[in-house]
């Protein structure tokens, strides 16, 4: 069994503070820096990409976890915020990723607290097993809002 896998992207300079990004899985984007960092509005940015990478990865892992934990997911939405710190030497890093998932699951025949506890464990597992979340050095905070609905 292979224990490694590789993924790639390609960037090309398009002039000024803009570039073109080709993702290994197909999509292509124009990108720049955010306006507060001498970039342009309305296009993909590395900052968005970093936060999106973690947000999408945790969600995909959570979808897998709901299947393994036998949860009936009704909806999932998560706004994730990355906090940038500018250091004294003007280097910058993301110190924190704050996930606020809103999750609705069906109750089924079990008591709501049992289902909710399982959702929380599925979320913890999603974070633990998310490739991206597991790779970043930012602190990760998850503040879920969980609703168990009797169907």
């Amino acid at each position: 069994m292979s224990r490694t896998a590789t993924y790639h992207t390609t960037v090309r300079w398009k002039g000024d503070h803009r570039g073109h990004l080709e993702m290994g899985n197909g999509p292509e984007y124009e990108f720049s820096a955010p306006p507060d960092a001498h970039g342009s509005a309305g296009v993909f940015t590395p900052e968005d990409a970093y936060v999106a990478a973690a947000n999408t990865c945790v969600m995909m892992m959570f979808l897998w976890a709901t299947e393994r934990f036998k949860l009936r997911l009704l909806s999932y939405e998560c706004r994730t915020e990355g906090t940038k710190l500018v250091e004294l030497d003007r280097t910058e890093l993301f110190t924190r990723l704050h996930f606020r998932p809103k999750i609705r699951v069906a109750g089924g025949g079990e008591p709501s607290p049992v289902i909710e506890a399982r959702v929380r464990r599925a979320l913890q597992s999603a974070q633990k097993y998310s490739l991206v979340a597991n790779s970043v050095k930012s602190e990760i905070v998850v503040e879920p809002e969980i609703v168990v609905e009797e169907c």
């Binding site: 976890a65 393994r68 506890a117 464990r121 599925a122 597992s125 097993y129």
Partner: protein, 151 residues
Amino acid sequence: MPEFLETAVDKFIFRVATDRQYGREGVWVQECGVDGQVRLGVSDYVQQRSGDAAFLHVKPVGTRLSSGDEFAEMETIKANVGLVSPVAGQIVEVNKDLDLSPENVNLDPYGKGWVAVVQAADWGTDRVGLLDPAAYLSAMRAQAEEEVGAS
């Protein structure tokens, strides 16, 4: 509280409780204090290698087992893992707490994460085929090194 042998492989640390014996597949066996009754659970290596437990399906009380029979299945976020009994006998108790807290297998594999109690049919014979903690540590370490070295 049991005492432990400990070994590190790559970035992982594995503990082996010294107050019990082990099957080659990583199921531990501990005398209960009642004549011929033994408690079964999984080693720290098995729980780490299997991933976060979502469900434990243990065969019901009364089930007769031959040595090598599966007595439980652990569904984790990553895999379904069959647990093989290294002793023959009859299941007389299952750990019902695992229904609501399967994570105990991960958090406390040698304590609250025990899986079942078996009335051994011939404990005197079966115990001879089990590994002592040092022998299990050595076998488990070789397994872990082989797996890590496969990258």
